[in-house]
């Protein structure tokens, strides 16, 4: 059948099973928005306040659902406003397709109004990108974009569509989407060898990364922990990849890892890393990381093997598939003594936050109360900073798709948009965005999106009046010179929320925490909870720059 470019875009979205897109209209996407109007009964468009918010929402939608998130923006500033959101998705390997309009082909390259070379701009932060200059390539390009976003190590793909292409008419025939196949994976010989090596370990350490979640490998990983009889640590990207109520769980590893995980790292004789790229926040100092033991790395991306650290055994493939194959070759192990030792450390070094100000609730108390009231079942999104670490430390995640946070890029302003996307993907779940007052100000305009669409997210704002994470470093390494980290904003958060049409609540004391959280959880619309906390609460433990991941500071 004959369709114009914009209708072809809609049909391609439908082919892929897309029923929700996030975006913001503009001149170069007028045709596309005209088609969205026509297709509004089958494709729901969520209009954010800013394209960045739309990109984060598409990312949150993808993380919460496992499906590919879709974001649409106009040319020029619309497209460049997506950049932070695309880079965030790229660093965390999140499947996303960004569709941007551009000026018509005859105006390309002439510095036309709202023209920007967005494929040039986003080359380093996409898996791949395209500019469609031939209407006959449009459908296949979009199909390829969706395929690439989900194939292998997932990630964002951008398709730039000049305005005249979105109006041109050509033949369209629907195509059944090509499902990405799993990578070939390691040979049987490699699997047997590594399984044998695992069976020789006396003090194994199982470390899980975001690749476990991307592969849907939580159950396989849990089984591996049991079979290997090993303690488990998860990276920030794998929160929920292992039930944190399980006694094997030691907490995170690395810059804000637990003392228990650090001790286990120091004493283990085999470090098994699944679906992880050994980010510098985990390694801390690569030269002193796990020097006394062998490392087995399992990852889908061959380029991540031997990149940040040299490993003894490498298995390249889908985390779930590789772990399942290992399980077939690995008999039950017993490391009673080692597990007892880990349990002793857990007794000795629990995560405990000091209460400096007896009036104010500690973030630990707030997060633990939230965990209890939501039975550990809420989807938690975060901004970036201290509150992000507290959320990861004190909420006990147990499922995939449950913790949505900008791990690689560290994007302040990510969480609110992401929470909206997550809530739209999972309307039956409770979604809570944990924010700091610094991050909140970056993209707080998205409160208007939550209120417009009645998206019942809870914005739990930890207000300590400072940029706490940076301030913490200034305390430690810059002689307490708090350059530009004392915010002391005059913002009245309650009034601001209400101005956006969002109900506001306040937590001033520890006694307020439970009743206010309960009330917020019972509210049907979006709620902002303004929660006053102590400005001097630090994220601990902490491994200072250059130090070994085995030696975190417990106090400062």
């Amino acid at each position: 059948m004959k369709l114009n470019g914009s209708d072809i875009i809609m049909e391609c979205l439908l082919e892929q099973g897309v029923d929700t897109v996030f975006g913001y209209p503009g001149g170069a996407v007028l045709n596309i928005y005209d088609a969205l109007y026509k297709y509004s009964d089958c494709i729901r468009h969520i209009e954010t306040s800013h394209e960045q918010g739309a990109a984060h929402a598409a990312d949150g939608y993808a993380r919460a659902s496992g499906k590919t998130g879709v974001v649409i923006a106009t040319s020029g500033p619309g497209a460049t406003n997506l950049v932070t959101g695309i880079a965030t998705a790229y660093m965390d390997s999140i499947p996303m397709v960004a569709i941007t309009g551009n000026v018509g082909r005859s105006l390309l390259g002439l510095d036309s109004f709202q023209e920007v070379d967005i494929t040039g701009v986003t080359m380093p932060i996409t898996k791949h990108n395209y500019i469609v200059k031939d209407i006959n390539q449009l459908a296949d390009t979009l199909r390829e974009a969706f395929y690439l976003a989900q194939e292998g190590r997932r990630g964002p793909v951008l398709v730039d569509i000049p305005k005249d292409i979105s109006a041109q008419v050509t033949d369209y025939e629907p195509v059944v989407p090509k499902k990405p196949e799993l990578p070939k994976g390691p040979s049987a010989a490699d699997i047997t060898r590594v399984a044998e090596r695992m069976a020789k370990a006396r003090r194994p350490f199982l470390y899980l990364g975001g690749g476990v979640l991307a592969a849907g490998g939580e159950q396989a990983a849990a089984e591996l922990a049991k079979r290997l009889d090993a303690p488990v640590s998860c990276s920030l990207m794998c929160q929920g990849g292992f039930d944190q109520r399980d006694p094997r769980y030691m907490g995170m590893l690395g810059m804000h890892g637990t003392k228990v995980a650090a001790l286990a790292l120091k004493h283990c004789d085999l470090f098994v890393a699944v679906g992880t790229r050994f980010s510098d926040r985990v390694l801390c100092n690569a030269d002193t990381f796990a020097t006394h033991c062998s490392i087995i790395q399992i990852d889908i991306d061959p380029a991540e093997i031997d990149k940040n650290i040299l490993v003894s055994e490498k298995l390249c493939g889908d985390a779930r598939q590789v772990v399942e194959e290992l399980l077939e070759n690995l008999p039950q192990q017993h490391h009673g003594e080692w597990m007892d030792q880990v349990a002793k450390w857990q007794q000795e070094y629990p995560l405990l936050q000091k209460q400096n100000d007896p009036e104010k609730p500690t973030p630990q108390f707030i997060m633990e109360t939230l965990d209890r009231l939501t039975d550990g079942e809420a989807i938690i999104t975060t901004e970036v900073g201290q509150h992000q670490m507290w959320a990861a430390q004190f909420y006990r995640f147990r499922h995939n798709h449950q913790f949505l946070s900008s791990g690689g890029l560290g994007t302040m302003g990510y969480g609110l948009g992401a929470s909206i996307g997550a809530q739209i993907a999972c309307p039956d779940k409770q979604v809570v965005n944990i924010a700091g007052d610094g991050s909140f100000h970056m993209n707080c305009s998205e409160l208007s999106t939550a209120s417009k669409y009645g998206v019942p997210v809870i914005e739990l704002l930890f207000d300590n009046q400072v940029l706490g994470m940076v301030r913490q470093w200034q305390k430690l390494f810059y002689g307490g010179r708090f350059s530009q980290t004392t915010l002391e904003k005059k913002t009245n958060y309650e009034m601001l929320a209400e101005a956006f049409g969002v109900q506001a609540m306040t937590i001033r004391t520890a006694d307020d925490v439970e009743p206010v959280l309960k009330a917020a959880l019972q509210t049907t619309g979006p709620v902002l909870i303004h929660c006053l906390i102590d400005p001097d609460c630090n994220v601990l433990p902490m491994v200072p720059a250059g130090a070994s991941a085995e030696e975190p500071l417990l106090d400062m």
Binding site: M123, P124, H128, D287, P302, A303, I305, D306
Partner: protein, 163 residues
């Protein structure tokens, strides 16, 4: 970590002839801090494919990283690290040198030894065209004093792996 020896590696990268493919490769090199010593894009018998030859400086770990990162690019079909023992590498050079009554015979002698083509001569200048391995071109250049050389233009290395 053991410090490995830095040397030159030749990567042969077969790519689909899509717009921006060279930018994707050079961008990858610059953002990942790999050193490109030279880069040549050559047409192949298949019009939709181009062969890009890149000389990279680094140790074994770097070159294996470079190879894996380049392989991830969607437009890249195949990456081979050429074995310098068994590949044939050639560069092309145009070099203009000063010519005087005293040096003119020496210049012609050098040209003969290196099978250099004399493209142009005038009273004070000779323009040579030389083809050879990078090492041959280096030795050719070294035969002239720096003040004798007016201009050098060298292409990057092209190389073919022998079966």
């Amino acid at each position: 970590m053991t410090i490995q020896e830095e040397k030159d590696f030749i990567l042969s990268v077969q790519v689909k002839n899509h717009a921006g493919v060279l930018q994707r490769i050079s961008g990858l090199f610059s953002r990942r801090c790999y050193n490109i010593k030279s880069i040549v894009a050559a047409q192949t018998v298949t019009p939709e494919l181009t062969e890009i030859l890149i000389v990279v400086t680094g140790d074994d770990r770097v070159v294996s990283q470079v190879k894996k990162q380049v392989e991830k690019l969607v437009d890249v079909v195949r990456v081979t690290v050429l074995d310098q023992q068994t590949c044939i590498a050639r560069e092309h050079m145009l070099i203009a040198v000063n010519r005087t009554m005293e040096t003119r015979n020496r210049l012609l002698g050098i040209a003969q030894v290196f099978h250099a083509e004399v493209l142009y001569v005038k009273e004070d200048t000779v323009l040579f065209e030389v083809v050879g391995t990078p090492a041959t071109l280096d030795s050719f250049v070294r035969l002239f004093a720096p003040e004798e050389v007016k201009k050098i233009l060298r292409t990057g290395t092209m190389a073919i792996q022998l079966d």
